[in-house]
Amino acid sequence: ELKVEQNPLFLSMQEGKNYTIYCNYSTTSDRLYWYRQDPGKSLESLFVLLSNGAVKQEGRLMASLDTKARLSTLHITAAVHDLSATYFCAVDMAYGNKLVFGAGTILRVKS
């Protein structure tokens, strides 16, 4: 059974600092997704990673995928308050299969 683990589950950062959220999964897959969720809102797609070594960047966020290590990272550069949200990673085995989520990382960026 596919399992997805994120860490840390809670992250409090100072503005301007860098940090990384980790996402490990249990079964070989080369399909990984990152989402952002603001309080009371639905999920916003951040990154879709569909191959080993994939790296994508958007603003202060960069995501990468290492399928051999079954690991994805979401790196935050020079955090700003607007990045405060909950971040989820999710994995599926193939198109049309079940999407399994990690527990989420609550990020709080302090001024």
Binding site: R31, Y95, A103
Partner: protein, 112 residues
């Protein structure tokens, strides 16, 4: 449509009543998913539909929960004899073969 549409956005129901939640996926997306998110929790998989294949119902928490997808498009999630523990946000998503899942805004269900 441009996105995944869910209705109603909020539903308050009395314990023991039945409720129906609707999801209208993005046109052309053959895969449709239902998830549940309880307050402060992650996403719990409920059921998914892929084309004309039999749905994967492995996440439905009890036989009070059922879902159908008519004509390969709109889906309805039905909860019978609602209980207070059913209170949550129910999220629907659809996906295309080219990657990426698009989520609707969700239905917030409150059972009183």
């Amino acid at each position: 449509g441009a996105g995944v549409s869910q209705s109603p956005s909020n539903k308050v129901t009395e314990k023991g009543k039945d409720v129906e939640l609707r999801c209208d996926p993005i046109s052309g997306h053959t895969a449709l998913y239902w998830y549940r998110q309880s307050l402060g929790q992650g996403l719990e998989f409920l059921i998914y539909f892929q084309g004309n294949s039999a749905p994967d119902k492995s996440g439905l928490p009890s036989d009070r929960f059922s879902a159908e997808r008519t004509g390969g498009s709109v889906s309805t999630l039905t909860i019978q004899r609602t209980q207070q523990e059913d209170s949550a946000v129910y999220l629907c998503a659809s996906s295309s073969p080219y990657g990426g899942y698009t989520f609707g805004s969700g239905t917030r269900l409150t059972v009183v």
